[in-house]
């Protein structure tokens, strides 16, 4: 009885909308005037330059940002796991805090920090690293960099927590044994820490991949996807198709399903790459 209720609820609130969205992705039209068009929407994806730009941007974020963040999170967590370090709690909290701030609030602050006459440019100019202000938000290249900096700032601490908890589960005696055998701390890191963290590395890279493919708030609030779609993400394109342009919910559903397909493929690849029975 109890399980039936759960099954019914899951079916009603998860499977039914999923199937409806799939059906919707085979329809096209403006607003309410939708009609079935078969695979037209899926064909359209490949000739849609805006979609292809959005995919390209999203993958740039993914390929550059996720590895940086994972390595950074791991590095910081190992540092903060050192029992000799003072104020460990304070550091951990400080680095984790960005993950619990409001997405919109931090995006807006980033926008002001990185404005042409914003704090970041002033700082860089004062220390004579640059002579002219960098167009962080209005230049196609720097806009992407700004987004990458923003999401790294926000999510590194979140991933760090997973590593910290995993590190605390590693038996200390393994390190002691290694030390007695004369292994340096670098060797300990690569020989013990990384192999034992493998499941967590897999977990954080999959969740970060999914998160990046669904990236929306930062792009919309910091650069609005600009200049000229240069930083637009796929999720923002879905929003635009649904609400900014004349609504075409059918095609928007198609683009949404393209994200689902990409996430599934990438997750399979990552499981395979992890290459053990965790897959």
């Amino acid at each position: 009885m109890f399980i039936i209720l759960a099954v019914v609820m899951i079916a009603a609130f998860y499977f039914y909308p999923m199937i409806q969205a799939l059906l919707l992705s085979f329809k096209s039209g403006k607003g309410m005037n939708l009609s079935y068009v078969g695979f037209d929407n899926y064909v359209r994806l490949f000739s849609d330059k805006t979609f292809l730009t959005a995919v390209k941007n999203t993958f740039i974020y993914l390929i550059i940002q996720v590895p940086i963040m994972i390595v950074l999170a791991m590095f910081i967590s190992v540092l903060l796991n050192d029992s000799k370090l003072k104020f460990r709690g304070l550091f951990r909290t400080a680095i984790f805090l960005p993950a619990v701030t409001s997405l919109v609030a931090y995006s807006i602050i980033f926008k002001y920090l990185f404005a042409t006459d914003g704090l970041v440019n002033k700082l860089l100019m004062n220390v004579h690293l640059i002579t002219n202000p960098i167009q962080w938000i209005t230049d196609p290249f720097w806009a992407k960099i700004t987004i990458i900096i923003a999401i790294t700032w926000r999510w590194t601490g979140y991933n760090m927590i997973f590593y910290l908890s995993a590190l605390q589960n590693i038996d200390h005696s393994i390190y002691e044994a290694a030390k007695i055998d004369g292994a340096s701390s670098t060797r300990q890191f690569f020989g013990i820490t990384i192999p034992l963290l493998k499941p967590i590395i897999l977990f954080t890279s999959i969740t970060s991949t999914i998160g990046t493919l669904q990236l929306f708030d930062e792009v919309v609030n910091i650069t609005k996807g600009g200049p000229g779609n240069a930083s637009m993400s796929i999720s923002q394109y879905i929003y635009n198709l649904s609400f900014k342009y004349t609504s075409d919910f059918g095609y928007a559903a198609t683009v949404s399903y393209s994200i689902v397909i990409m996430i599934v493929i990438l997750a399979i690849v990552q499981f395979k790459a992890a290459g053990d029975k965790n897959g």
Binding site: M1, F2, L5, S28, K30, G31, M32, N33, R44, S47, D48, K49, T50, T53, K111, A115, T116, Q135, I137, T138, P140, T223, K224, G225, G226, P227, G228, N229, A230, N240, S242, F243, K244, Y245, T246, S247, F249
Partner: protein
């Protein structure tokens, strides 16, 4: 225990379902037969649109002291209104939607045509001939009037007379100029004063929109659906003028509204070419009183159709096909649809320039504005409003503009203009399919 929990959960679900229908019935039912006593209005911009609606509501109550019509004005961001409207209308329910909604003119057709039965026809309530011509295109479908035209987005060129004088020009030198002359003046201003001529946000092609409408042209052909980018002479010249502006090094690049406002309030730019609704923001910096003037919008020099009048933004009121629509239509008829007195109040108190032709005859429209050195700014804008070419904005303004923003970047980067426009056309054709 498990059973008990399950029963509790199930009854909770049922209860929520029941209570929501109960609420809906209470909100909409009951008074419908004898005319609903309550209408809801959605609009954005607290000072401007909400302020106008509040004054209209007071005016209506003054005229109909016996009426017990209750008008709920709810402020929403424009993006939220669009999102809620699209979501609600697509879900096929009007229960969560307002009775009166403000829609930007550029988007109006996309709503009117996508959801044909969602809006209440107002042909019997207002006379389209009473309003500026260019407002009728966006607010009607097949000759049926759906919107009550509201504010004029009549564009003008706001200029800093002190900077111009420093550069050796008088405000009179900027009367009825074209973009070439404008850029030439800009270079002199930059050389003499070090100030930029204007700001531009690379994501916003408002300037291009104003340029092409001044020549009676648009991104779409007159049918409102066929992209009109390749071979569009006005658009080509607009693009060329834009590039000339950008490469003359007289533009301060901004990335959002507050930077845009900040640039002229802090005195960093010498001109602001935009819609008249910016007056309030310009006047917000009281220390610059007497330093500003407004001249007619520059025209495209090589286009015979181009006039010194254009439009940016502007919106209109629409009645949704829900309970209370007749009361709402009657309310709009008596206020925004005809009340010349109300419009005098709107223009003096919030600076909203009407598109109701009769309103311009009122006294408030003839007042000199000391902030603009005694210029009768409102009268000038009202005059330009009448000259704005009527174009069909169609359904796809923002979809096409997103394509053009990218192509503009390519063009600025050195791509050939004809290739730019033909590529944009090809993309536009897949997008509006």
């Amino acid at each position: 225990m498990k059973k008990l929990l399950a029963i509790m959960l199930a009854s909770f679900v049922l209860l929520t379902a029941c209570s929501s229908t109960g609420n809906n019935a209470a909100n909409n039912g009951g008074t419908a037969a004898e005319g609903t006593k309550e209408i809801t209005v959605w609009a954005w911009d607290k000072v401007f649109n909400i302020g106008a609606m509040e004054r209209a509501s007071e005016a209506y109550k003054a005229k109909n002291p016996d009426s017990d019509l209750k008008i709920n004005i709810i402020e929403n961001a424009q993006a939220d209104i669009i999102q809620k409207m699209n979501a609600g209308l697509n879900a096929g329910t009007t229960k969560s939607l307002p009775t009166i909604v403000l829609i930007e003119d550029y988007r109006a057709q996309s709503f009117l045509q996508s959801y044909p039965d969602a809006f209440f026809e107002l042909t019997d309530f207002i006379n389209p001939g009473d309003f500026a011509d260019y407002k009728i295109g966006p607010t009607s479908v097949d000759g049926k009037q759906y919107g009550v035209p509201f504010d004029s987005g009549a564009a003008g060129l706001y200029v800093r007379s002190d900077y111009l004088e420093e550069a050796g020009y008088k405000v009179a030198d900027l009367q009825d100029i074209d973009w070439k002359k404008f850029i030439e003046i800009g270079k002199a201003v930059k050389a003499k004063t070090g100030k930029s001529l204007l700001t531009q946000d690379p994501n916003d092609l408002g300037l291009i929109r104003m340029m092409i409408q001044s020549a009676g042209s648009w991104y779409l052909k007159d049918d409102g659906t066929t992209p009109n980018l390749v071979g569009n002479e006005a658009l080509k010249e607009a693009f060329e003028s834009y590039k000339e502006l950008m490469s003359a090094d007289i533009v301060k690049v901004t990335s959002d509204w507050s930077q845009f406002v900040g640039a002229f309030n802090s005195g960093e730019v010498a001109t602001v070419p935009t819609g008249n609704w910016i007056t309030a923001s310009i006047k917000a910096e009281a220390s610059q009183a007497g330093k500003w003037a407004v001249v007619p919008f520059p025209k495209l020099g090589n286009n015979a159709n181009s006039v010194h009048a254009s439009n940016l933004g502007g919106s209109s009121w629409y009645v949704m096909n829900v309970d209370g629509k007749e009361a709402a239509a009657e309310f709009l008829k008596q206020t925004f649809g005809s009340d010349v007195e109300l419009y005098q109040k709107l223009v003096t108190e919030i600076g909203a320039i009407s598109t109701l032709k009769a309103a311009a005859t009122g006294e408030a429209y003839k007042q000199a504005d000391e902030f603009f050195g005694g210029q009768k700014v409102i009268e000038d804008f009202a005059k330009w409003t009448e000259q704005i070419p009527n174009v069909n904005y169609g359904m796809h303004t923002y979809a096409l503009e997103d394509i053009l923003v990218v192509e503009m970047q390519n063009y600025l980067g050195g791509k050939d203009i004809d290739k730019v426009l033909s590529d944009a056309q090809a993309q536009a054709e897949t997008q509006v399919k």
